[in-house]
Subunit: 408 residues, 2 copies
C-alpha cells in the first residue's frame, strides 16, 4: 500500500518556515514499511487543492492531508474535500460540545466561526487530541484519507494515535513493531553501511534506516512480528553484532546524545569534569550543560581566548606559550591539567586550535587542533586536523573531544 | 507569472533529510515578486514524474526542477523530461569537454556513464557553475523550464545566476531590485507588524517579508524600480522610520547577527569583554566566538556550575552565596565584577539562573534568571523570568544578555 501527503500553508509557498510535518510523517511511514510516493505542498485554500486531492485518491492507498482545518476564512480544506468526495458536511454534536467547553475553559467567548470546527464530511471519524485542534479519518472507495491539523505537535499526536495504527493494520503489517535508535561517530557513512550489510546477513529481519546528522550517523533499527519479546531480543543481537563490527564508534546502545552518554558514565563512576576551551569557545560546555542534571558531574569550565587568560586562570607557563605556542600539545596538556586543578575535578578536558578563517600560518594551518585530557592517572594529548569553515571546525572539535572523554 | 517547483530525491520520501532547495527557491521567488503555487516532491526516477511535469507545464509560467541530473542509473530527470516534452536528447560537445577536464583535474578516470552529463534536450541552454554539477534552461511553449542539480550549494549558485534574472526579466519586473535584511529582538511579532504597517503608509514602495526565527524576528525589505540609487535611499528612509518606531529592538541596520553587532561596537570603542555563565553553560561564549576575529575583543569566560567555582574563580563571597543564594542579584553582580577583574576586561557580563526542568523551588521558579553587567563605571543587575524548556531558557537568556550588552 503506497501513499501520498498533501500539505497546505501559505508560509510554505513563500519559504517563510521550514516544512516539518511531511518530513516527520515520511520518516515514520518509512520506518513502518509504508512507502510514500509523492508530497505536494500548496497555499492555503488553493484552487489547485481539489485537483491534487482527486488525483491522489485515484492512484494511492492512503492520502494524509495537513493544514486548513482551523476557524478562519482561509481554512478551506474541509469544504474543498467535501466537494471532491461529493459528500455532505454534517455537524458532529459531540465535537461541538467539546469545542464550547474548551473555549470556556480558556476564557474565550463563543463565536459563530467556531461552528466550522465541528463540520466533517459524512462518514468521517473524528480524531481528537483533547487539545485545541482535531482531525478526522475517512475511508473513501479504496483509499484511506486522514485530515490532520497543521500545528506540528498536534499533527504528531494524531499521526501516532490515529494514522499509523490504522495504516499498518490495513496494510497487513504484523501488529508488533519494535524500534531502536543508534548514534555513531568516527567513520564514513560507506563504512557503516558495509558493516550493517554484513550484519543483516547474520541477524535477519531487522530493517535499518540511515540518517546522517553531521557529524554523526543516526540509525533506526526496526523489527516486526507477532510478539514483542523475540523482536527485542533480535534487536539486542543486532546491536551486539554492530558493536563488535564497528567497535567504539557506536555511542552507547540507545541513541542518546553523546553528552548524555558522557554524563551517564561520569555519574556511574562518581567522577567530576571541568573543561578548558580555546577554539571551541564554549561549545563543549554548552553541549554538556544541555543535559538536565549535569550539575551533578560538570563543575564548570573556562574559555581562554587570550594567552594571558591561559596563564592567569589555568597556570599555563609563559614558556610553553612562548616556545611552543598557544596551539601545541604542551599548551593543551597544561590547560587540561590546569582546569582539573582549578575546579578540583577528576577529569580535565582541554582544546586549543585554529577555527579560522583567519589565524592560520604555514606551520599551523586553519583546522589544526590539539586536545588534552587530564585524568587521575596522568595527562595525554592528541593532534587533529579538521576540514571546513569555522562552524564545522568548532562542531568537529567539540564532538571529537567529548568522544575521547567517552572512550576514557 | 506563477510557477511551480518539482523536487526529486528518495531521501525526501523516507524523511531522511530536510528539504532545503524548495524553501530557498520559494523565499527568493517571493522576495522577487514571483508567486509560487505548488511544490511537488517525488522519489528518484519516479514514474509519477512525467505526469507531474506535464501538468505543471500545462498550468504554470515557470517550472523549476531539481535533482536527478547526476551520472547514476536512478538519475533519470533528463530522459523523463525529454519524453514529456517530446524532444530529442543531444550531446553538448562543449559540456563534454568540460566534464572530461574536471574529472582529470580531480584525478578521476573517464567512465562511459559520465557521457550522460552532457546530454540535454534539443534547444536547452546549459547553466554552468564551473563546478561538478550543471543544469539547463528551456523555453517550452509558454513555460520557462529550469533543471537544476540537487546539491544545495550548486542549486543556489545556478538559481541566482541563471533562474532569477531570467524570470524577473520575463515577468516584466523592473530590472533593479534592492534588498536589506533586518533583525529585531524584544517585541512580539504583532507589535512589529503594527509598526511596519504604519511605516508602509509613510514610505511607499517597500515590500516587507516577515521571518520569525526564534527568539528574533527577521525582516527582508525589498524595493524595485528603474534605478538603484533612489531605491537605496527609499530603504534607508524605511529603516530610519522603523528605528524611530521600534527603537532599540532593531539590532543594527544591516541584518548582522547580534553577536556581530556586539562585537563591532566593542571593537569600535576598543573595549574588551569577559563573560561568566551559570545557567547558559557556555552558550554566550559560544555565540560570541562564532564571529571570526572575536579574539580582538573577547578575552574569555568561565562557566561556573558549582558554588565552589563561583567563589574560587570569580571571588563571589560565601556570604552572598549563602544568604542570597546562587540565583540572586548579589551573586550575578559579584560574578560580573569577578570575571571583569580576573580577565582584566572593560566589561564583565554574568548570568545565573535556573534552566530547569529540575532545580526550581517555590521561591525561585524554573526560568528565573539574574544578569549582571560590570562596566568601567560600575555594576548593574537585572531580573528576568523566561518561559519554556531548558533549551528555550538558555536561548532566551543568552539573547537577552547579549542584547543588554549591545544597548550599553
Amino acid at each position: 500500500m503506497q501513499g501520498e501527503i498533501i500539505i497546505t500553508g501559505n508560509e510554505l509557498m513563500t519559504g517563510q518556515v521550514a516544512e516539518v510535518n511531511a518530513r516527520y510523517a515520511a520518516r515514520r511511514l518509512h520506518e513502518s514499511g509504508l512507502p510514500l510516493t509523492c508530497i505536494t505542498m500548496l497555499g492555503d485554500g488553493a484552487p489547485l487543492f481539489e485537483g491534487v486531492l482527486h488525483q491522489a485518491i485515484s492512484r494511492s492507498g492512503f492520502v494524509i492531508i495537513t493544514g486548513g482545518l482551523g476557524p478562519t476564512d482561509d481554512d478551506m480544506t474541509v469544504a474543498q474535500a467535501a466537494q471532491v468526495l461529493n459528500l455532505r458536511l454534517i455537524q458532529d454534536d459531540g465535537m461541538l460540545t467539546r469545542i464550547r467547553r474548551r473555549l470556556e475553559e480558556r476564557g474565550f467567548a463563543w463565536e459563530p466561526r467556531y461552528g466550522k470546527l465541528a463540520l466533517i464530511p459524512q462518514g468521517a471519524i473524528i480524531l481528537d487530541t483533547g487539545r485545541s485542534a482535531c482531525g478526522f479519518s475517512l475511508k473513501y472507495q479504496d483509499t484511506w484519507l486522514f485530515f490532520l491539523p497543521g500545528i506540528p505537535r498536534e499533527m504528531r499526536l494524531l499521526f501516532e494515535s490515529g494514522v499509523l495504527p490504522v495504516l499498518t493494520a490495513a496494510a497487513g503489517i504484523p501488529g508488533q513493531m519494535v524500534q531502536r535508535g543508534l548514534r555513531l561517530f568516527g567513520k564514513m557513512e560507506i563504512e557503516v553501511q558495509q558493516a550493517v550489510h554484513a550484519i543483516e546477513k547474520e541477524v535477519e529481519g531487522v530493517e535499518v534506516g540511515f540518517y546522517p546528522e553531521f557529524p554523526e550517523i543516526h540509525l533506526t533499527l526496526t523489527a516486526r512480528g507477532p510478539e514483542r519479546a523475540p523482536l527485542q531480543e533480535r534487536l539486542d543481537r543486532f546491536v551486539a553484532a554492530l558493536s563488535r563490527q564497528v567497535g567504539e564508534i557506536l555511542l552507547g546502545g540507545d541513541g542518546a546524545p553523546l553528552e548524555d552518554v558522557v554524563g551517564r558514565r561520569l555519574r556511574e563512576q562518581h567522577k567530576t569534569l571541568a573543561v578548558a576551551e580555546s577554539c571551541t569557545g564554549g561549545l563543549i560546555c554548552h553541549r554538556l550543560t544541555n543535559v538536565s542534571g549535569s550539575s551533578d558531574y560538570f563543575l564548570g569550565g573556562v574559555v581562554t581566548y587570550s594567552n594571558q587568560a591561559k596563564m592567569d586562570l589555568l597556570g599555563v607557563s609563559a614558556d610553553a606559550l612562548g616556545q611552543k605556542g598557544a596551539v601545541s600539545p604542551e599548551t593543551a596538556s597544561a590547560m587540561a591539567r590546569g582546569v582539573k586543578k582549578v575546579f578540583g575535578a577528576d577529569f580535565g578536558l582541554a582544546v586549543t586550535g585554529i577555527a579560522g578563517p583567519t589565524g592560520g600560518t604555514p606551520e599551523k594551518l586553519v583546522g589544526l587542533v590539539f586536545m588534552g585530557l587530564a585524568t587521575p592517572k596522568g595527562a595525554d594529548t592528541r593532534r587533529h586536523h579538521f576540514p571546513g569553515d569555522r562552524e564545522m571546525v568548532k562542531t568537529l572539535t567539540a564532538e571529537t573531544a567529548l568522544d575521547w572523554l567517552r572512550r576514557e
